[in-house]
C-alpha cells in the first residue's frame, strides 16, 4: 500500500517486509535502475536431495501455502512422467477439480484481501467514487471485503472433500489420487460451488450470470458490459472497471510484453499415460509462449535458470535437471554483485535467445487466444484482443485473473459431472529406481514446474521453478533484468514526494511474496519513498 514516506528514509525500519524488497533508483523523475531482492531462503531443493522419491509430494506444497495444491499437482505429474504411470480418467478429473478449486479460492481472496485494499489508499481520496471504494473494499469492514474474503474458503471445501484438507494435502500420488469418493462428495461439491457461484461470483462480483459474462469476446465488450445495466454497473466488477479507469490503472503496468504459460488441466483420455512429450497436446488450458508478436510451442528443454545475481555459489545458467542449489551468505553475495534468493529463469525463443517471460493469469489468457486449439482445449480471444487493442495494464491483468473465475467454474462443474464413481481412481505404479520427470501446472499466479531426477530409488536432484521467480527474478548473466524490474525502468514519476506510479507498476505483478518497493534518489542515495505492495502468492 502506498504511503507518504518523507520520514521513512531516516527510519531504521526501511524494510519492513522481509520477503521481497524492490529497490528502485530515480534520477530526474525517471526510474533508471531496479533490483528485486527476495530476502528469505529455506533450501527446499537441498532438503529433497537423497530423500524418498515421493518426498516432493509432502515437501513442495510447503514451499507456498497459498499455491500448495498447485505444488502438489505438478509434483505428482513429475513423478508420473518419471515412473511412467497409467492414470485412470477419474484421477485426472479429480486432480483437475482440486487444482481449479484452489485457484477459485485464490481469485476473491487475492482481489479483496490483497489487491483491493490498495484502492482505498488515501492517494485516491480525490477520486469521484473514493467513498464508494472505501465502503466496499476497506479491510475487514468493507461491505464487499468481508464476504469476499470469508467466502473465499468455500471452493477449498470442495478441495477438502477429495484431499481431506486445504492447504497442504498430499493426496495426489503417482498413478492417481488417494481418495475413493462416494456420491455425496460429488453432490456436496456441486452444491457448495453452486452456492458460492450464486452468492459471490454472480451476485456480488458480476451482477449477471456466468454465461452472460462469458459472452464477452473483446475488450470493448467488457467495457460495454460494465454499462449495460444497473446490476452490472453496480457489481464489484462493474465498479472496479469504472474506478480503475478513473484512477489510471488502465494506463500503467505494461510489463515485458512477452508471456509464458506452461498450461494446466488434462484431458482424461489424452493423458492416461503421462509423458513429457505428450503433455502439450493433452492440456485443456494450453501452454505456449507469446513473444510480443507471435506464438511458440512450449518446450521445457528451452528453460534455463541463471544464478549469476542470486545468492548461490558461482554463476551461469543451467537447465533445471542439471540445476544446483548451493547457497552462500548474502553478505558475501552482495560483494559479488548478487542481490536475490530468487534465480532468474529464462526461455530460449528462436531468434531471440534466452529471454525473461511474464507468467500469470494474463499470460495464460493471452496464450488462450492462440488459434488452432483442439476440441478439448480452451480457446478464448478476449485477452489477446485486450493486449492488442489497449495493451497490458494493471486493469487488464486484474481482469485476466478475475475472468478465470467464470471459466474455471464451468470447467469444474463439467469435470464433476464426468467423474464415474464406479471406475478406478488409482492404478498402482511400478516404483522405478531411476528416471527423470517434468511436471507443471498453472498456479493462480502462473506457471509452476518441477524437474526431478531419480537415481537408485532416491531423489538425485529436484528443482522447482515458481511463477514468482519468472516474474521477480533478478538480472541474468547478460545483465538483462527480470520482467518486474523491466517494468519499472523508464517509468516517469510526476510527483517525487508521492510516486504513486511505482506502486501501480509493482502491484500489477501478482508476485508470490509480500513486496516492498524502496525508491532511492540517485543523486543523494537516500531512500525517498517506500511502498508496500499487498501481493502474496
Amino acid at each position: 500500500m502506498a504511503v507518504k514516506t518523507k520520514d521513512l528514509r531516516i527510519s531504521p525500519l526501511g524494510r519492513v517486509e522481509g520477503d521481497l524488497d524492490l529497490n528502485v533508483v530515480v534520477e530526474d523523475g525517471v526510474v533508471v535502475d531496479a533490483q528485486a531482492e527476495a530476502s528469505m531462503f529455506r533450501g527446499f531443493e537441498i532438503i529433497l536431495k537423497g530423500k524418498d522419491p515421493q518426498a516432493g509430494l509432502i515437501v513442495t506444497p510447503r514451499i507456498c501455502g497459498i499455491c500448495g495444491g498447485s505444488h502438489l499437482y505438478k509434483a505428482a505429474y513429475a513423478l508420473d512422467t518419471a515412473w511412467q504411470t497409467e492414470l485412470p480418467p477419474n484421477a485426472t478429473l479429480i486432480r483437475n477439480i482440486a487444482q481449479a478449486c484452489e485457484t477459485l479460492q485464490s481469485i476473491p481472496r487475492w482481489f479483496y484481501a490483497l489487491f483491493a485494499i490498495d484502492l482505498v489508499n488515501k492517494n485516491y481520496a480525490k477520486a469521484k467514487e473514493y467513498d464508494e471504494a472505501v465502503r466496499r473494499f476497506a479491510p475487514f469492514v468493507g461491505t464487499s471485503y468481508e464476504p469476499g474474503v470469508t467466502w473465499s474458503g468455500k471452493p477449498v471445501e470442495v478441495y477438502a472433500m477429495f484431499g481431506g484438507q486445504w492447504p497442504h494435502s498430499s493426496f495426489m500420488i503417482p498413478g492417481g489420487v488417494m481418495c475413493g469418493p462416494t456420491l455425496s462428495e460429488i453432490t456436496r461439491s456441486i452444491a457448495i460451488l453452486d452456492w458460492w457461484a450464486d452468492a459471490w461470483l454472480e451476485k456480488q462480483w458480476l451482477g449477471c450470470s456466468i454465461d452472460r459474462w462469458l459472452e464477452n469476446k473483446t475488450w470493448q465488450d467488457v467495457l460495454d458490459w460494465a454499462n449495460e445495466n444497473e446490476s452490472q454497473y453496480n457489481s464489484d466488477c462493474g465498479f472496479f472497471i469504472r474506478y480503475a479507469q478513473e484512477i489510471g490503472l488502465d494506463k500503467l503496468g505494461q510489463g515485458a510484453g512477452a508471456f509464458l504459460a506452461t498450461g494446466t488441466f488434462f484431458d482424461p483420455e489424452l493423458y492416461a499415460r503421462p509423458t513429457i512429450d505428450g503433455r502439450n497436446d493433452a492440456l485443456i488450458t494450453r501452454s505456449g509462449v507469446y513473444d510480443g508478436s507471435g506464438y511458440h510451442d512450449f518446450d521445457h528443454m528451452r528453460v534455463s535458470e541463471d544464478h549469476t545475481h542470486s545468492f548461490f555459489k558461482g554463476s551461469g545458467s543451467l537447465h533445471p535437471w542439471d540445476g544446483v542449489t548451493d547457497p552462500i551468505d548474502p553478505a558475501d553475495g552482495h560483494k559479488q554483485g548478487k542481490y536475490s534468493w530468487a534465480k532468474s529463469p529464462r526461455y530460449n525463443v528462436n531468434g531471440k535467445g534466452y529471454i525473461p517471460l511474464e507468467a500469470g493469469p494474463l499470460a495464460r489468457q493471452v496464450v488462450a487466444g492462440r488459434p488452432g486449439a483442439a476440441d478439448h482445449q480452451d480457446h478464448d480471444p478476449l485477452f489477446l484482443d485486450a493486449i492488442q487493442t489497449v495493451g497490458p495494464s494493471v486493469l487488464v491483468r486484474v481482469m485476466g485473473r478475475m475472468h478465470e473465475a467464470a471459466k474455471y467454474m464451468k470447467l469444474v462443474k463439467g469435470w464433476l459431472n464426468d467423474v464415474n464413481l464406479h471406475e478406478k481412481f488409482y492404478i498402482k505404479p511400478a516404483e522405478l529406481a531411476d528416471g527423470r520427470g517434468f511436471g507443471s501446472t498453472e498456479a493462480a499466479r502462473g506457471s509452476l514446474s518441477d524437474w526431478i531426477v531419480l537415481k537408485d530409488g532416491k531423489i538425485e536432484n529436484y528443482q522447482v521453478v515458481t511463477p514468482t521467480a519468472w516474474n521477480i527474478g533478478p538480472m541474468d548473466g547478460k545483465d538483462v533484468h527480470g520482467p518486474m524490474e523491466q517494468a519499472f525502468i523508464g517509468a516517469t514519476i510526476e510527483d517525487m514526494s508521492d510516486p504513486v506510479e511505482m506502486g501501480h507498476v509493482a502491484r500489477s505483478f501478482d508476485s508470490c511474496l509480500v513486496c516492498t518497493v524502496h525508491a532511492y534518489d540517485r543523486k543523494t542515495g537516500k531512500e525517498m519513498a517506500q511502498f508496500r505492495i499487498g501481493d502474496i502468492c
Binding site: 504511503v3 526501511g14 529455506r42 515421493q54 510447503r62 477449498v156 488417494m178 551468505d329 488409482y426 532416491k458
Partner: protein, 323 residues
Amino acid sequence: MASLLWFQGGACSGNTMSFLNAEEPSACDLVTDFGIDILWHPSLGMELGEQAQKIFWDCAKGERPLDIFVFEGTVIMGPENTGRFQMFADRPMKDWVIDLCNQASIVVAIGDCACWGGIPATAPNPTDSVGLQYLKKAKGGFLGDGWTSKAGLPVINIPGCPAHPDWVTQILVAVASGRTGDIALDELQRPQTFFKSFTQTGCTRVQFFEYKQSTMEFGQGTRTGCLFYEFGCRGPVTRSPCNRILWNRQSSKTRAGMPCTGCTEPEFPFFDLAPGTVFKTQKISGSVPKEVPVGTDHVTYMAHAAAARIAAPEWSKEDMFVV
C-alpha cells in the same frame, strides 16, 4: 481489546491461508466482534505507514503494550548463527523475534515451523532453522527451555502443517475474552483441549482399526479399511483433533483416504523422508508395525490383533464407503 502482532519467519504462509478459511469466528469477526486489534500482519490489509512502523519499534522496546505475538515459520539461524538467510527490516528476523517475544504478554507459535522447526528443519536443515522453544523434540529452540513471556507462560504451541483455523481462532478468542487461565498446555506446550485426543479419535476408519482390517490400495481401495497397516498412517500415534474438528468444515485427510503424516508432532516429517518411508508403514520382519498405538507394546498389540482378526465380522472386509 487485545493487541496482536503477527510475523512470518521461514514460512510458507500456509497458516495464514488456513486462518483465512476460518468461520465462527472468521478473520473479520475477530477484528469486528472480538476486539482483536491486529497491529500488523504481513499480508492482511494493514497499512504500512509511519504509524505502523512506530508501533513496531514501540512494541519491540516495550513502549506500547503487546498482548499477543503470533509467530509463523521457523526462526532462521543460518548462515553460522547470523540469521542472514532471512533479513527483515534491515535486521535478521531472529533479532526481531527475541525483542518482540520478550515484550509480549503471550507468545503463540502457529504451525510446525514455529513450534518445532517443521519441514525447513528437516535434515540437513540447510538454514539452521529452529522453532521458538523446540528443535524437533528437543526443548530449548530459539528462546531456550524455561523461557516465559510477560504473562508467565511458555510459548503456546499450536502445531500442524498447517494449523487448523479453529485451533488458532478459539485460542485467540479465549485470550480476548479473559479465558487465558483455561488454556492448559500438555508437555509439548500444546493446548490440551485440542491435543489430548488422537488424530484417530473420530476417524471414520476406526472400526476397521478395531478389527485390524487394512486398506489394500489407494483410490477405490480406500472405500474400506484402515490406513495404519500398509500406508504409514500415524493417526493412532498423533495428537490432534483433525477428526473432531473437521477441515474446511468437510473432511479430514484420513477420512478422504490420505494417511496421517503426524504433522502436529515435533518429528514431522517423520524419518526425515528417507527412501522407503513415505506413505509406507515401517514394519518389523515384514508384518508387524514398528510403532504400535500409544500406551501399548508389541506383545500386547499382537495378542490383541490376533484376537481382533478372529473376531472381525464379514462387513469389516467389505467396502463401507460406497457409491
